[in-house]
């Protein structure tokens, strides 16, 4: 076994002040660092303003509204969402969406998977799987009507979704899920 200790001569590689005190100050580096700090703080301020405005979700800029051309269905949602954070998607069907006291709504699979639908208010009477989504049936009388989906996305990225009344033109949109 090697019992010899590894040795290295004592050397001083830091600049001296008055030839006596080894401080090792690097003002040139520090000046660059102060400049960098300024840039970072400016970026942080912009980030906070963007957050307050809702550009990072949960604010005015994130709120979006889509409507079919014939006004059968209006969808209010957040175009920027956050992972594992609840948001509410509100569907406002028009009277034309109600047939025989029933309201049918088709939602694409992405609403259930990527956007992680947790709850539907009110509870649908039936749900039928197929055609790349689920068709829910609700007992309905007259407008105004509101159906809400509580979303809790667990997949980061841009995801498209489709919501519509079967037989009518659907609402198609995209929302971005931030980490």
């Amino acid at each position: 076994m090697d019992t010899q200790a590894e040795l290295k001569p004592v050397g001083d590689n830091v600049p001296k002040v008055d030839g006596t005190i080894a401080v090792g100050e690097d003002l040139e580096f520090q000046r660059r660092w102060w400049k960098f700090e300024k840039v970072v703080w400016s970026f942080f301020v912009l980030l906070l303003i963007a957050d307050l405005a809702g550009a990072l979700g949960r604010g005015p800029l994130a709120n979006a509204k889509r409507e079919t051309a014939d006004g059968t269905l209006q969808v209010k949602y957040e175009r920027i969402q956050r992972e594992n954070t609840s948001s509410i998607m509100t569907l406002l069907p028009g009277q034309a969406a109600v047939h025989d006291g029933k309201l049918q709504l088709f939602v694409s699979d992405s609403i259930l998977k990527e956007f992680g639908a947790q709850r539907i208010i009110p509870q649908p009477e039936t749900s039928v799987v197929g055609a790349g989504g689920v068709t829910y049936t609700f007992p309905a009388t007259s407008t105004p009507m509101t159906v809400q989906f509580e979303l809790k996305p667990s997949f980061i990225g841009l995801h498209p979704f489709t919501i519509g009344v079967p037989g009518d033109e659907p609402v198609q949109a995209k929302a971005f899920v931030l980490p």
Binding site: G24, E25, D26, E37, N84, E114, H159, P179
Partner: protein
């Protein structure tokens, strides 16, 4: 695009490096002990980051893996720092002279948010009565202020 949730270990690493960066940007303040403000900062930052890192994974397995990931990141950073002067400078900064031969380094003081009282406090700690007795005052990388008295004081 379907990007699955980031793994918990990666979240722990993001959190660690982000906090290292934030603490570096917030800067050093003089003093041997944490001030009440720094206590608030440290616990608040830790608490806020914790919720996002742990999320809803409350298992012991997750805790072990995340702790090991953070320990590994810390160990690696320390190893790189000891081998590279450039990385050490970026992580810790460099010592900065605050006062030298009766002259304040005004820009350094301002940028580092240090008042002359902070220097005087440290001088008193070493038994010096006036600023004239100080040869050099240095803000060290760990935030401590070192006072070197004049030879004849």
């Amino acid at each position: 695009m379907n990007v699955a949730s980031t793994e918990s270990v990666l979240r722990a690493l993001y959190g660690y490096f982000f906090l290292v960066f934030i603490v570096r940007i917030v800067g050093r303040r003089p003093g041997k002990q944490l001030t009440p403000f720094e206590f608030i900062l440290i616990f608040f930052l830790g608490g806020l980051m914790l919720t996002a890192i742990v999320a809803d994974e409350a298992s012991l397995t997750n805790a072990f893996c995340q702790i090991i990931a953070v320990a590994f990141a810390h160990f690696s950073l320390a190893a790189i720092r000891s081998r590279s002067d450039r990385v050490a400078r970026i992580l810790d900064g460099t010592p900065l002279i605050l006062l030298e031969g009766n002259t304040w380094r005004a820009l350094t003081m301002r940028r580092q948010r240090i008042a002359d009282d902070d220097v005087m406090e440290k001088a008193r700690d070493q038994g010096l009565k006036t600023l004239e007795e100080i040869e050099t005052a240095v803000l060290e990388r760990n935030g401590e202020i070192s006072i070197l008295p004049k030879e004849d004081s």
